[in-house]
């Protein structure tokens, strides 16, 4: 993303900015009108949010939820990529894994919440497991499809030139699969945050989940809206960073 491209695309970024500004103006008008009990204007929400960040524990709880997300995501990566490689490389493994992974991906994972305490308790282990399940299938599915997208001819060329099997695996198969793998990883970033927040809301109120639900149940609307606004912005920024990293890592591919 060069400065030149940024300048060339200025009308687009101007429209993005305009759209966001417009949203805040409408929000201000609706909030200030006082017709809607559940909407306070940004002129109240933003100072409250700032105050909660500096003097309150909004940052601490947000980081708490995000670290659950990060840890669960790491476990999902450590499991998902090998499983995906296996499904992509072995036809027989894929016969079994393909319906299992796709089925699990389509399944509503949240139905486990009422009984997960029985197996893993209500603490960090259970939360990490939820995040893990939110991420692992999309990572494995995209890794497998990445491996399958590498043309067999590429592998054959590698062996024709006498590349050792390990080099073929690393330099041809893994590299060829990397665009799909990165897509899976990027998608799982937002899923990890969703899983962590869901666990913090529904499993046992904790971190940002506790912050939001207690603000909600005590009708501290500005505090609630501030929390929602912060996690939304953080999630969008995280996804933008993930996309940036992805583009940077795959510049060898995009350049051609």
């Amino acid at each position: 993303m060069s400065a030149r491209r940024l300048i060339a695309n200025w009308p687009r970024y101007a429209r993005y900015t305009l759209s966001i500004l417009l949203f805040f103006v409408i929000w201000q008008i609706i909030g200030a009108s006082g017709k809607f009990f559940a909407i306070t204007p940004p002129s109240e929400v933003l100072p409250e949010m700032w105050d909660e960040m500096i003097h309150g524990d909004l940052i601490t709880v947000t980081l708490g939820t995000l670290s659950t997300a990060a840890l669960g995501l790491l476990i999902a990566i450590a499991v998902g990529i090998p499983v995906g490689l296996l499904a992509g490389a072995s036809r027989r493994a894929n016969w079994v894994l393909d319906p299992l992974l796709n089925g699990a991906y389509a399944a509503p994972i949240t139905i486990m919440l009422p009984v997960i305490g029985l197996y893993l308790g209500l603490g960090l282990k259970a939360k990490l497991f939820i995040v893990f399940l939110f991420c692992v299938f999309v990572i494995a599915i995209s890794t497998a499809s990445g491996v399958r997208s590498v043309p067999p001819a590429m592998r054959e060329i590698g062996s024709a030139f006498g590349m050792p099997r390990s080099a073929i695996a690393w330099k041809i198969v893994l590299r060829g699969a990397s665009p799909e793998i990165f897509t899976g990883l990027r998608l799982s970033v937002s899923r990890a945050v969703q899983g962590a927040l869901l666990a913090d809301l529904l499993l046992q109120a904790d971190d940002l989940g506790l912050y939001l639900s207690s603000a909600g149940s005590s009708f501290e609307i500005s505090k609630l809206l501030g929390g929602i606004l912060l996690i939304t912005v953080v999630a969008v920024v995280l996804m933008a960073i993930a996309r940036g990293i992805e583009t940077w890592l795959l510049r060898w591919k995009l350049g051609t």
Partner: protein, 280 residues
């Protein structure tokens, strides 16, 4: 999806071996189980059921119900009226998803045909996609109470992104690829929209509906779990009362339903895609 392989399906007469008839049949069965897609899958399913059963036998019914217990609880799900609760939840979900389609498809078409609309709406589709929408649950409760409106709003919030974005992609694809040809043949604009744009965009729209409906189903359960009503409330209740056989039966049913929805729409999408050139 791997291609159906017929490698070494039936060994038949393997040279150098002299099994009896029964053994040969057994050998052929084993070969089928380990070398064909259907066989390997059957073996995997049997394996999973056996592991489930062993775990159940080892840890007892307070940890995992047996396969039979879950199966007989499944009968109970249908006879004791639990499916009625599920039906009610699904009705609410489809009401919400109807609103998603009513808002999402026009917005998607708008984003597909107008670059300005696309740019103006992109920050919001991005936010809808990336952000944890669960954060809004406490707010939606305050706004809509715990009734129908609340559930519908959660369903719309979770499912609308896929409908908008896929519709937009379909219209953009059709517009860009086919408009020039249509112009060259002087196709009237209305005929173009009806006969070319619509069929070309249809598989994309159905893909959006497939992904969106999947999210709607998940959203329905999340919304209900949060306030303990409907199907979410039911699994919350039987889960915390540790009626595990019933819980497992409900879980199997819900997962099967989610996969069923996915498969039907996937099939529909593939059928519609036949009319469209394969390369997008």
């Amino acid at each position: 999806m791997a291609t159906e392989a017929s490698v070494g399906t039936v060994p038949g007469e393997t040279p150098g071996r002299s099994f009896g008839g029964g053994r040969r049949a057994l050998g052929a069965l084993w070969s089928w189980l380990t070398n064909t897609k259907a066989g390997v899958r059957l073996l995997a399913v049997l394996g999973l059921l056996i592991i489930w059963q062993l775990v159940a036998a080892w840890k007892g019914p307070t940890w995992t119900p047996t396969v039979q217990a879950t199966a007989s609880a499944m009968v109970e799900v249908f006879t004791e009226g639990y499916v009625t609760t599920l039906g009610e939840s699904l009705k609410t979900m489809f009401a919400g998803f109807g609103i998603t389609l009513l808002i999402g498809i026009p917005l998607g078409v708008l984003m597909g045909v107008s670059k300005i609309a696309d740019d103006l709406l992109t920050p919001w589709t991005m936010a809808l996609f990336s952000s944890p929408k669960e954060a809004l649950l406490p707010l939606l409760i305050i706004m809509f109470g715990t009734e129908f409106n609340y559930q519908v709003s959660v369903v719309v919030l979770f499912s609308i992104f896929f409908v908008i974005i896929n519709t937009a992609a379909g219209v953009q694809y059709a517009d860009k690829e086919l408009l020039e040809t249509a112009r060259a043949f002087k196709t009237p604009r209305l005929a173009f929209a009806r006969k070319i744009l619509l069929p070309a965009a249809a598989p994309f729209v159905v893909a959006g509906i497939r992904l969106g409906l999947g999210m709607a189903f998940k959203a329905m359960i999340i919304a209900e779990l949060w306030i303990s009503v409907g199907t979410g409330g039911l699994i919350d209740q039987i889960g915390s009362q540790r009626q595990l056989d019933l819980f497992y039966a409900m879980a199997v049913l819900l997962v099967a339903l989610a996969i069923g929805i996915y498969m039907v729409l996937n099939w529909l999408e593939n059928r519609l895609r036949h009319d469209v050139p394969a390369n997008t």
